[in-house]
């Protein structure tokens, strides 16, 4: 037995007869904030619902806090889940939404009142007791849903894309808010998102998923700088990925000899790792946009479109003009096939 707080062993999850998640293994430590990251349909929600007990696994085991909970019903697992839609109870006001679970535990009234008030306070909704969910903004609803789960003092708190319905500003705000609440309460959190930046900003560790399998697992820094596969690299912003053949880069558009021997089957560059303005190769600028600190170019090259960021210091070149560029091997990330 490992000392992981949540452990999924060989977990297979399916709908009717189609397998959504085959044989997943994952260990989550106590107090950790894990994000499940991956494209739409890769099985994030499915995994989460299995942990919560809303979906029984086809096979495999789920351990939480040293206990096998695979067959424990959802209402006995002590797990909180914040839904993407929030799933607030429209017929109850904010206070009663938060008090809902506490009332079911038949706690003394005074306890219910103080814990509910405390919960609303934690998420910054003190004084909103009497509001119905329909009378609250998206961000307030999201925080209410969070409070409703938090007051139950769950062993694990699962959040399924809780920020996706919010506008960009509110997202940033709620992100820091979530981190603060997590540090304050020390709750083990699993956070689902398909937004790379969100995952990087929040997570202690990121689980990158692809078609029901874990593609790579690591700290944000590891995933950001050392993706192992083309899929992971693409997700982490390596927008230029090419096959190699000896000293030549190969794409479906064509080939480009680079003059050094590639160390792996695939090489990848972030846009800012591509040199523009100088270099042995030339391409035609097909798109150009100003992005504050730098300028984003798309070049038409023998390898097809190439994305490159030029420091603002480099003189602007108009669309249609030729520009020289380089794909330096010291800036490249070597990837497995």
């Amino acid at each position: 037995m490992s000392d992981a707080f949540v452990e999924l062993k060989n977990l297979t999850l399916s709908y009717d007869n189609s397998v959504a998640v085959p044989a997943l293994d994952l260990a989550i430590n106590e107090g950790e904030l894990i994000t499940l990251l991956g494209p739409s349909g890769c099985g994030k929600t499915t995994t989460m619902r299995a942990i919560a007990g809303l979906l029984s696994p086809t096979s495999g085991i789920i351990h939480i806090d040293g206990r096998d909970v695979t067959r424990v019903p959802a209402n006995k697992r002590g797990i909180g889940l914040v839904f993407q839609s929030y799933a607030l109870f429209p017929h109850l006001n904010a206070f009663e939404n938060v008090a809902f679970g506490l009332r079911l535990q038949k706690l003394p009234d005074a306890d219910i009142r103080s814990r509910t008030a405390e919960g609303l306070e934690t998420v910054g909704l003190a004084g909103f007791d009497k509001r119905r969910p329909s009378e609250m903004s998206g961000g307030q609803q999201q925080r209410l849903a969070l409070a409703r789960s938090l007051v139950m003092r769950p062993k694990v708190l699962l959040l399924d894309e809780p920020l996706s319905n919010l506008d960009a500003r509110l997202r940033l705000e709620m992100r820091t808010e979530l981190q603060r609440v997590q540090k304050e309460t020390g709750v083990t959190m699993v956070f689902v998102t398909h937004d790379q930046a969100e995952a990087l900003a929040l997570a202690d560790r990121i689980v990158l998923m692809k078609a029901g399998r874990i593609e790579q697992l690591g700290t944000p820094a590891e995933l950001y700088s050392r993706p192992r596969t083309a899929f992971a690299a693409d997700f982490m912003g390596f927008e230029n990925i090419f096959h190699t053949s000896g000293d030549t880069l190969v794409s479906s558009f064509g080939r480009l000899p680079v003059g050094y021997t590639a160390p792996s089957a695939l090489l990848a560059w972030r846009p800012d790792a591509v040199t523009v303005g100088t270099g042995p190769h030339t391409g035609t600028i097909t798109a150009s946009s100003f992005a504050g600190g730098h300028r984003e170019y798309v070049l038409q090259t023998p390898l097809g479109p190439l994305r490159a960021d030029a420091p603002i210091a480099v003189a602007q070149v108009p669309i249609g003009q030729q520009i020289s560029f380089d794909l330096p091997h010291q800036n490249a990330r070597a990837l497995a096939e």
Partner: protein
């Protein structure tokens, strides 16, 4: 100009639909002994007489009881059925829907006759019991339909949230689903009540000594007596429906469920 045309078409239509009720209300106020319009003088005697006719009182009580308990029974079966049809991916869902909806499609008189022949007579079921079951079967389709439509907009994840907060499945239903479909259930009750109370063809064959629903009793009374008491009773029933619909509309915006 367009306005005038619009309102005259509507006025004529409404006159045709509602006018007869006005006439019947007035006809009931006659002071004479024969049904006539305009009424021969004014009095409330027929309105008062209705309450003294013993058979009307018993048949009214029976119709009330059938409407209330038949509708309640239909809801007891209909709410779970509507819930299951909405929430589960049942293999026989279409069949269940068709079976439950069938009593709407088939003429009521046939249902009554069939029950009389194959239940009341051979199985020795009392007429009252047969009436109760027939009215329940008749209201069931409305109960399922109206409750279903009010459940459609209710997201499943609300129930899941309730379960994760510690509810049993049953608690999730009573604490989360039921409060949110309350107006649908109430609308189903009212629609069921009215349907059952006004029902004639099903009850036509299901009557026995001292056991008659109010509409059937009225038909029987009309065959022997031609005084304004039926007009008065009809007017009273119209007022009752008016009150029910008015309250329901105020409470729930009832017409969207019809």
């Amino acid at each position: 100009m367009r306005h005038l045309a619009n309102w005259s078409i509507l006025g004529l239509t409404l006159l045709f639909l509602i006018g007869p009720f006005v006439i019947i209300i007035l006809a009931g106020t006659s002071a004479g002994n024969n049904l006539a319009f305009p009424p021969e003088g004014m009095s409330m005697k027929w309105y008062l007489k209705v309450f003294t006719i013993e058979s009307f009182r018993t048949s009214f009580a029976l119709s009330m009881a059938l409407a209330v308990f038949g509708t309640l029974a239909a809801l007891v079966m209909g709410i779970p059925a509507a819930y299951a049809l909405n929430r589960y991916d049942l293999p026989g869902a279409e069949t269940v829907r068709t079976i439950v909806a069938a009593p709407i499609i088939v003429p009521g008189i046939i249902i009554g006759l069939a029950l009389l022949r194959y239940m009341v007579v051979p199985l020795d079921v009392t007429v009252t019991m047969a009436l109760f079951m027939a009215h329940t079967a008749l209201v069931l389709p409305y109960a399922v339909r109206v409750v279903s439509s009010s459940m459609q907009n209710l997201r499943v994840d609300m129930e899941e949230a309730a379960v994760l907060l510690g509810c049993s499945r049953m608690q999730a239903f009573t604490k989360v689903v039921l409060p949110n479909i309350r107006s649908g259930v109430l609308a189903a009750f009212i629609l069921g009540f009215v349907t059952s109370f006004n029902q004639v063809p099903v009850s036509l064959f299901l009557s026995g000594p001292g056991v008659r629903t109010l509409p059937i009793d009225m038909l029987a009374y009309m065959e022997i007596t031609f005084d304004p008491s039926i007009a008065a009773l009809s007017a009273l029933l119209a007022f009752m429906s008016l009150a029910i619909v008015f309250i329901a509309e105020r409470l729930l915006g009832f017409s969207k469920y019809v």
